[in-house]
């Protein structure tokens, strides 16, 4: 569905994927005429959509000849893959992040327009424990919106350590209404992490936290409300996963989307200071100057605690032991994937 954000001064809209119409199998054949070093090593790639995630994981872990690469392996399944005699676990620090959006709408009754409250929540949660225990070590705590390996992370960026006492001081100064619970919404898939954050916040700030797990069937409706910015939102904080298409210019695909005047996930009024900095960056064609300005944007978001900065989860793949798969931070491509002579497809040939 198309979520229309604005029509003036320019039309801005985002497509929300509410369902996928996949063919049971999508077969890619090597282009033997490709003329660069990236010519395919594999003769054929078959994307299979006729299995459940569990069936696919079983097939790659327990047998050979049915499944060679399973993406999006849950950290909860990582140990099983590592124990498998047929598969290996490939992990990469990917350009992905999980953060919390703050509801900063003018008509919202929680004091999240106050930077002290946003910083309090950032100091209340233990993102290091979340990465280590919630995601089994397959994640990196975030300082701000830019993973440490990307260009544009501001110099000196360090993920905040939990400081419950300072968090309580800041929350008291911001003035959260006594007895009002904090409503923390999350896609159902991230409910475990949301409950870790909720427990930290309750412990540090003495607030009751209501976790609202949104089932996949309702995510499209919630996303459209968020993107179109016309109907009220039913949450104070929303856990939100996102990604980046490259490691070079995170503000373009990440920061702007969360905080920019045309950002799909902006959950508050337009931020003139952010927009001024981003507009300057968007006009800059010198790569070194652009990088400096990207760092400036990243630092601004950190200092203003514009989001609940949590973790950058790894991308995990279960890969057949005879497949040499090279993971990418920002994509899933197979041009340089190879199979050894012991692979089932070559033995059968």
């Amino acid at each position: 569905m198309l979520a229309i954000q604005k029509v003036r001064p320019a039309f801005v809209a985002t497509s929300i994927i509410t369902g996928e119409d996949r063919s049971p199998r999508v077969v890619l054949e090597a282009n033997r005429a490709h003329d660069t070093a990236r010519t395919a090593r594999l003769e054929r790639v078959v994307f299979r959509n006729d299995l459940s995630p569990q069936e696919a994981l079983d097939a790659v872990c327990d047998r050979e000849g049915e499944m060679d690469i399973v993406s999006e392996v849950s950290p909860a399944d990582a140990a099983r893959v590592e124990r498998s005699e047929h598969a290996r676990l490939i992990a990469i620090d990917a350009n992905r992040l999980i953060v919390g959006l703050f509801n900063r709408r003018p008509d919202h009754d929680a004091p999240l327009t106050d930077a002290r409250m946003r910083e309090a929540l950032n100091l209340a949660v233990d993102r290091h424990r979340m990465a280590a225990e919630g995601l089994g070590g397959h994640a990196t705590p975030l300082a701000g919106m830019t993973p440490a390996w990307c260009n544009g992370v501001f110099p000196g960026a360090e993920a905040r350590r939990r400081d419950a006492a300072r968090a309580a001081e800041l929350a008291a100064a911001a003035g959260w209404s006594p007895g009002r619970p904090l409503r923390l919404a999350t896609p159902a898939a991230l409910e475990g992490l949301a409950r870790m954050a909720a427990a930290d916040i309750e412990d540090a700030l003495g607030l009751r936290v209501e976790v609202i797990a949104v089932p996949p069937s309702d995510e499209g409706v919630g996303a459209r409300r968020l993107v179109e910015k016309k109907l009220p939102l039913g949450w104070d904080v929303l856990l939100h996963p996102w990604f980046d298409l490259s490691s070079d210019m995170p503000p373009a695909f990440v920061h702007r989307e969360f905080f920019g005047h045309d950002g799909a996930f902006r959950a508050g009024p337009e931020d003139e200071e952010f927009d001024r900095r981003f507009a300057e960056l968007a006009r800059t064609t010198d790569p070194d100057e652009a990088r400096r300005q990207a760092e400036d944007v990243d630092r601004y978001c950190f200092e203003q605690s514009l989001a609940l900065f949590l973790v950058a989860p790894q991308a995990l793949y279960a890969v057949n032991r005879h497949v040499d798969f090279k993971a990418y931070r920002a994509t899933f491509e197979l041009a340089d994937t190879e199979v050894s002579a012991e692979h089932w497809s070559r033995r059968e040939a």
Binding site: A33, N95, D248, R346
Partner: protein, 168 residues
Amino acid sequence: MSSVATERAMPEAGPPVPVGTVHVFDPNPLNWLFVTWNTMEEPVRTDHEGHTVLALAEAAEWRADGGFAVTVRRGARFQDGEPCTAHSIKQNFDEVQKWAAPHPPGTYLNFHPDATCTVEDEQTCVFRFPEPDGLIMAKFRGFHIAGSSFWHTHGFGYKKTGSGEGHW
């Protein structure tokens, strides 16, 4: 000045011979994009670290007059053998510009509505924008280049939905 590395040339030993089949299960909701990136080229792509490198372009640089010149990799061809030239870039640019919101992730990837693309020669085309676009290389990552037969048959959503909105 080009700001990114160039695509590696084919090794002197010649191209590797593709062998083997792999079966893949990819539940990522961006699978449509990954299949596109595995089957089409863009002026740029990203390397393993996520950094931008030239792909279908062998050069991309700002000129003193404010134009952004793209030089298409010499000898590039589509899967059906059609040469990929500066005319191909312009054809795909013109298709993109028809739509208000062609990219599922949002209009940020759009080129400015008043941007133009002019073919200088078989390998070179020049983009012109109302104001400098410092994010152009990032946008090029989502600028999929298809052969003319693609536009005459499927298009991005043309055959299935009658529109390119939300389908790039």
